[in-house]
Symmetry: none
């Protein structure tokens, strides 16, 4: 499939990557209902690992089965499906390439009382290759005292992945003793975490939709001095996207906790208006009944495509 | 031996594995009195290491000898015999393949006061190959603050083992500062730990029979909201099995502490009725006199085979 | 893109491969005008290396430029574009994934007087990964006294490629002191060479359309004894396809020297009627003017698709 | 399955091997109709590679399909099925362990005019592991001027295979400029080649049934001086078996060219009477119709088991 | 030298080891006054490292010189001489194989205040090979919170040593925050520690003579319930030996602190009567004058040989 002008423009922002890595990035952009637009809606399903199966899948019990998610992502026309190793092992060899896969290379469960937040490494670039994945995923927790270890883990993986033609999606989730609870989604911190992800070499950066809270007093002064608008979601997303190489990195936004359809769509419009590149929407997708989820995801895609 | 339809169906759940790994998985399913049924009764003897020899073997002193267990597993028609390195070294080269072996690659003793639970690595995939083993075994303690290290140890071993045709049995035993004592066997936590084992790439998942306790308040809300039944062992086992890729992973249950025959059998019937794939029965087997143990294990096999 | 039933059937013939390798094989089958049919028309351009540029490109000088071929393959709706390292270096990073690429890993030029035929290794699996290729290609010359070296080179590359998710296209071109000139395209020898390629682990086997000549007297006896038909191209192709695991390997046919359109199409119909999986058509494509080439390739695709 | 006394006795002849290697050797002895007897009937199908598909498979065209052979070996109750890489790739992942597999690691085709006989390496120990094979196979041509290269290739493979628990079957086929045509099956040479295979570390040695010809004059003198009987097949087999560590290596005999049933059975009785351990029977098996082949192989097994 | 029936029986307990490892084990059993009996008296001299030179050697100043110990071991007819790297460097190349050597691969000094007990690695398997040693030695401290690290260090060394034909002597010395001071020699703990050593793959296990103290309440219940006798040294040694694979591992006992000859001999008789395999006697040997030491050691040997 020919890369559209928009896809070519986005690829031009990564001029130091090899064709293998860019081809996989393009593949995600050329898949699904948003193919060619440079926009993304990705289905991520690591909530079973992160929050436990009952909380994640009981609302829509089909989701206990990894097959369900693989197929939902296709039925809804997503760009890619992201999951931990086991779920991809259970599906990759059954369907063989029907949708781009993102192997999540670290995960955290909610059973242990770990001190500072840091996930366990649960997969490798070698796994991504043998499973035919188009990208690796990894979570960093800027704000955690374990920062250095996490950053060092992912920079090694990014380097290895790049050499074999695999781009990286970085979940940048501020968290840890360096931040207040409100700070985890503060606009200055989300922008900062996203910038760090860009500096670490991420191709796609995933953050949470930012709130108007500003965490660091030094930042607050600057926001005030320069009248940086933060009132609307679009304002805040614009700041985050600008913080990622002036918009020359793909920044996408998580859907967060399950909520009503109107609330979801309003948030999406804000992300779109602020120049966000799309959404990675888990619980708000797979916890709805299948057809409802497809309908919601399609509406979201239409919003990003400028059709709704 | 031809794989039965049931065995082929189970193997189809692991579509990303190579033939070597699946052949070893099949070998365990084609051994013993349950051959071809897709059900498992495995004899594990790591209690000498875990709890010390006197507590483990004095009730039936023949068990001080690793030969005893190797032979008991065959006499009873088990699918496999699992043990630490030393016990397999003492028997593998004497009998040479009379029953599939599972090399337990980590172990914990009860002498040290270790902080958060984590076992010592006591063997390698290379050992498993030279001893002719059909699988490796490993214990994770979800709930331990040492979670990351454990998960990272086993994911590397699973990757290596898969590449040389060896499947993995994961002992998922919730334990550690993140959980209450009751939480270690709580139905939500056992299901969660089993799910994590599946995501880590385990082929066979071993858990303890779950109690009706629900450990995490967030989970309690979900159990209540969706009226998930937990009254009977069958109810709870069903939830655990569902949490493992909707039943597409082999989940087996430990026998736990030594107890009366009726109590054992009742538990087994619950596991069977809930869709459990079998038992891994140590102390309740080898601490009984030989013929009594064989009789008990045979009755258990009959229950799983639907004959009792 | 969903794999069609036909694509799934073909993938089922490679049950020992990992999902990465099968996904790349599927990608080629899901590209172009023949997407989903399980048929192939591939554009190969290694003639510049093999026969020199003037002979190859002067008839249609646009072909001096590797861009021309990359685009021609897309314009014509081919499944893939195959070329040596340099030509792919010149295009892969410019277009980034617009069509599946096959990196030809060995090549021979016509300047040296090499004794027994054997090509030089001109690329690696590592190159294929960094360039984002969907397959590697390699030429063997069964009949050459250098057979052992060639077979040993490719078996190591196939093993490496499989481990990182890349399938192999093997050019099986009988040639060398063991064969007469007529023997190079003899039906018994083409079938034999294709069988050897299958045994070496090739996923796709490329041979020349066979003639009715039978090279080896022992084979002649068998053809006669069993009345194996060889009169038509379809007869001979059928024998070759059967010789590749009874049709369970993808066998495609080269277009050979440039010739008239009618001759080309008649040959294609024979290949199709004999159960061939498609064509790999170089000179007869790129030596024609662009639009004429597209038209010819489209007609060929229609023939394979049963539309012409 | 318990090893019989006979199997244990045979295993005791390999006291320096690790349990993994002996377990795989035992597995072959515990499979099929001859399970437990220490006798072997193996189905080898590398003739497609060695002699070409038409000569090999046209007499019974089902044999073009590797599935046919995998199933024939099981239907007939063979101990193992031996084939080159491609044929095992096509079947191992479909059936997953239904019969022990022997991966032939080198092969020769009949297209090239190679000087001194030496096969190409076409697989690796790593392949054997990932395909779940119970042994590797390899052909040496004692008598060839390429002897050193072949011996050095196999000794490295044997060492690697032993370390990961895989035994070796060595095809010892005297051939090359050092021998006359008659010498290739001469009793002194077959015995000598088998002895060399034993010295190279083979666990199972495959030779052709020897003729009464004595190739080397020095040997002829000894045969005469000591009145070594060579008149019957049993006499000659006895000499060959004695030459392999006085019968403490498993020596099996090829079936050779296709021939009538009576001729086959007479030869088998001679091998049995001489103390041969069994047959590796290719063309005389798979070139017959399926049921006839099963019947023939079963009769052969009965002969080895002392029932016919 | 022929292995005696007793030596052959002992070697049969290690059926998974290669001949190199068993030959070195046999060499120790075939050396000195106890040659062929399967009993051991080993001279270990690591006290200089462990307790400092003045405390260790001043009582008999010849012992400052490593030559002294090498020769004392031979003069007394010991099976082997064990020491840290430096002492063996100083003697191995001077005498070149006059007595089997055991290279102690970890050591602890008494200068540092280390938290939980763990020794420093002070040598390697490579050292053992180049110095011509017949075994490696290693100390584990079951009961230490550093347990995992120690067990993981030795399991890697054992695997490496086995692969190059070197057996392992494991010093199992319970110690650390998990145990009381009395617990370090408690009969239940010594038995447990010895069992763990066996499971880790040790060929020879060295423990301290156990006291009648039982450390763990759960064990106390079992000792009482089954009336396990612990009154005499023989009783306790019997329990320890049984705990090591029912007597199928070589268990030897340290001499402990220097004491009077009668006390030493009485302890030895207890060890012998309980089925212990011998002693590893340091300070009670080398701190006595040479001839007195030889006489004591000879008497000890006579006791083990049943002559005293």
């Amino acid at each position: 499939m020919r890369n559209s002008d928009q896809v070519r423009k986005i690829l031009s922002w990564y001029p130091s990557d090899n064709p293998g890595t860019l081809s996989n990035l393009a593949r995600m952009m050329n898949t699904g209902r948003l193919a060619g637009t440079g926009k993304f809606v990705i289905l991520p399903v690591d909530q079973g690992f992160e929050h436990g199966p009952v909380r994640s899948f009981q609302p829509n019990p089909g989701g206990y089965d990894p097959d369900y998610h693989y197929n939902l992502a296709i039925d809804a026309g997503c760009n890619a499906y992201a999951a931990p190793l086991g779920a991809l092992e259970a599906t990759a060899g059954k369907y063989n390439g029907e949708i781009p896969l993102i192997l999540k290379l670290n995960n955290s469960d909610s059973m242990a009382k770990v001190g500072e937040p840091i996930s366990a490494i649960t997969g490798s670039v070698e796994d991504a290759l043998r499973l035919g994945c188009s990208a690796i995923g990894f979570t960093i927790y800027p704000g955690s005292a374990e920062r250095n270890l996490m950053y060092e883990q992912i920079r090694e993986m990014i380097l290895e992945a790049k050499s074999v033609g695999i781009p990286t999606v970085l979940w940048a989730y501020p968290r840890g003793s360096g931040l207040s609870k409100a700070g985890e989604t503060a606009v200055d911190i989300v922008a900062y975490a996203a910038h760090v992800a860009a500096q670490l070499g991420a191709h796609v950066i995933k953050v949470k939709p930012p709130t108007a809270h500003v965490e660091q007093p030094e930042n607050q002064k600057v926001f005030e001095k320069f009248n940086i608008p933060t009132a609307t979601m679009a304002d805040r997303v614009r700041h985050v996207v600008q913080s990622c190489f002036n918009g020359k990195r793909i920044v996408i936004f998580s859907g967060g906790e399950a909520k009503g359809t109107d609330a979801v769509l309003e948030e999406i419009r804000g992300i779109r208006d602020g120049g966000g590149f799309g959404s990675i929407m888990g619980r708000n997708a797979f916890q709805r009944p299948h057809d409802e989820a497809v309908k919601l995801l399609n509406t979201i895609m239409d919003i990003y495509a400028g059709k709704a």
